[in-house]
C-alpha cells in the first residue's frame, strides 16, 4: 500500500500559541506512516475574514487550495476553523459555477486559477478514513485502560452538514471511536455537540465563558478525568481559559484538556515530554500518575 501523503496546513493559531498540538500530531502521524509535506507559501485560511467580506474569505482560502493543486496533494488541517473555510470553499467552487468564475476573476490577479483537483481533510478524518482503525490499533503499545475521558469534537469538523458530509453532527462518533482505540474509556455527557464559544470571545466574554463553564460542568458530572479536543480554538477555551473561568464563577475544575494526538501518542508509548504535555495550562499530573499505575 502506498503511504498516505498530505500537505500540512498549520494555520495561524497553532504556530502562534499551540505548538503542542503540532508537535504531537507530527509524532503520531509519522508513527502511522503518514507522510507530511511542508506546504509552501500558505497564508491564513480566510476564516476570520468571513465577517468582513465573504469574497475575501473565499479568495484567501482558494489561494491556498491553488497551492495544493499545483503540488498535486490533498491538504491536512489540524484546526477546525481552517478545515471549515478550506473545505467549504473547495466544495463551493467545485459545485457553484457562478462563485467559481467570480473567485477565479480575483485569483487571476495573482496568476492563479482554481481547478478543483484537491481535497481538504481534517486530522480526524485522515485518521479514521485514510489510515484506518486497524492500523492505529496496531500501534497502541501502552493501552490507557484505566482512564476515562470525554471528547469535544468542535463544530466545524461536523457542521454545516452539507459541506462536511462526514460524521453525524447530532451524534458524532469519529473522535469517540478514535479515543477508544487508545484503550481509554470515552464517556458520554450532556450537550456534547454544543459549541465552545471561542469564536466570539473577542467581542463578548460573558457568553463564551458561560458556555465553556457549562460544558466543563457536564464533563465533570460524568467523572471524566480529561477532555479531548481536536481544534486549537476549543482547546484554548477549555485549557488556557480554564483558570479564568474558574475565577469568574468561583469554581474549581482542574480538568486537563489534551489534544487527541497527545492521548494517542501516550498510548503509542511516547513520553509526555515528547508530546509537549508540559505546555498545557492545566497540568495533567494526576492523569499521568493514573496512567502509570495502570501499567
Amino acid at each position: 500500500m502506498t503511504k498516505p501523503k498530505y500537505l500540512l496546513f498549520t494555520g495561524c493559531v497553532i504556530p502562534y500559541r499551540l505548538s503542542s498540538y503540532e508537535i504531537s500530531a507530527r509524532k503520531v502521524l509519522a508513527k502511522l506512516d503518514v507522510e507530511l509535506v511542508e506546504m509552501p507559501e500558505y497564508n491564513c485560511c480566510g476564516y476570520p475574514m468571513d465577517v468582513v467580506n465573504h469574497d475575501l474569505m473565499l479568495t484567501l482560502a482558494a489561494r491556498n487550495l491553488c497551492v495544493a493543486e499545483k503540488m498535486g496533494l490533498p491538504i491536512l488541517t489540524l484546526c477546525n476553523g481552517c478545515f471549515c473555510s478550506l473545505n467549504e470553499t473547495n466544495k463551493i467552487l467545485k459545485e457553484d459555477k457562478k462563485q467559481r468564475e467570480k473567485i477565479n476573476g480575483y485569483l487571476k490577479e495573482v496568476d492563479m486559477e482554481f481547478k478543483g483537483t484537491t481535497e481538504v481533510k481534517h486530522l480526524i478524518y485522515v485518521l479514521s478514513e485514510d489510515v484506518g482503525f486497524e492500523k492505529i490499533k496496531n500501534t497502541v503499545t501502552k493501552p490507557l485502560s484505566n482512564i476515562r475521558v470525554a471528547q469535544h469534537s468542535g463544530c466545524h469538523v461536523l457542521r454545516p452538514k452539507k459541506y462536511v458530509a462526514r460524521d453525524d453532527p447530532e451524534n458524532p462518533t469519529t473522535l469517540k471511536n478514535l479515543i477508544k482505540l487508545t484503550g481509554a474509556e470515552c464517556l458520554d455527557y450532556m450537550d456534547e455537540t454544543e459549541c465552545c464559544g471561542n469564536p466570539i470571545i473577542g467581542v463578548n466574554e460573558d457568553v463564551p465563558f458561560n458556555m465553556a463553564k457549562e460544558k466543563l460542568e457536564h464533563v465533570r458530572a460524568v467523572g471524566a478525568q480529561a477532555l479531548i479536543t481536536v481544534c486549537p480554538f476549543c482547546h484554548i477555551m477549555f485549557d488556557l481559559n480554564q483558570p479564568r473561568i474558574e475565577r469568574a464563577f468561583n469554581e474549581k475544575f482542574n480538568l486537563p484538556v489534551l489534544h487527541y494526538p497527545q492521548l494517542l501518542g501516550l498510548a503509542m508509548g511516547f513520553t509526555p515530554e515528547e508530546l509537549a504535555l508540559n505546555e498545557l495550562r492545566v497540568k495533567p499530573t494526576e492523569l499521568l500518575n493514573l496512567m502509570k499505575r495502570g501499567e
Binding site: 504556530p15 468582513v52 453532527p169 509537549a276
Partner: protein, 185 residues
Amino acid sequence: MTEEKEYVPPVIKAEELDPKFKYKMSKEHGAEKVMVCFQCGTCTADCPIARFSEFYRPRRIARMVQLGLKDRLLLDGALWLCSSCFTCVDHCPQGVEIAGIVRVLRNMTVEDKNLLPLVYKELATNLMKTGFVYEIPDSRLQKRVEQGLPPLPKPNMKDVLKIFEVTGSARLLEKVQTIAKVESK
C-alpha cells in the same frame, strides 16, 4: 426636579421598512432562502448563544430581514454574537441558512455602515502585515526550531495584499470605525 420622559412604545414605523431588502438579501450567497423562513423558532431554541444572551435571537433576525428592517439590523450589536456553530443551519426545517444570513448582514454592516468589531480589524491588520492573523513573534519561531519543528513558510505578501485590494477589502478596512465590545444582556 425630574423631567418626565414621554413614553415611546416600541413600535415599528412603516417608513422604517424597506420592502425590497428581502429580495436584495435573497441574491446573496448563503442568504438565498430567507423568504421561506416560517418563524418556527427551531434556530432560536437550539442556539447556544441565545441561551446566554437576553436578546440574540436568530428567528428575530430572519423576521427582521423579511420585514426589511435593514438599519435596525445593521446597527444592532447582536449581529456580532453569532459564533458560527451552524446548528441553526443544520436544524432549520426550511433549509434557511441563518448563520449565512448573519454573515451577509455583517458584511453589509462593514460596507454600508463602516462598522466592525475591533478584534477583526486587528486580525485583518496582522494578516495584511504578515499573512497570518496573529503576529507570530520571533521568539516563537526560534522556539519552533528548538522543538524540532520545521520553519514556518513565508506567506506570499504580494498575493495577500493583492487579494485584499481586488476584493475591495483593503478599501473597506481603511474606512471602518471600530466597536470595542458587544453586550449580550
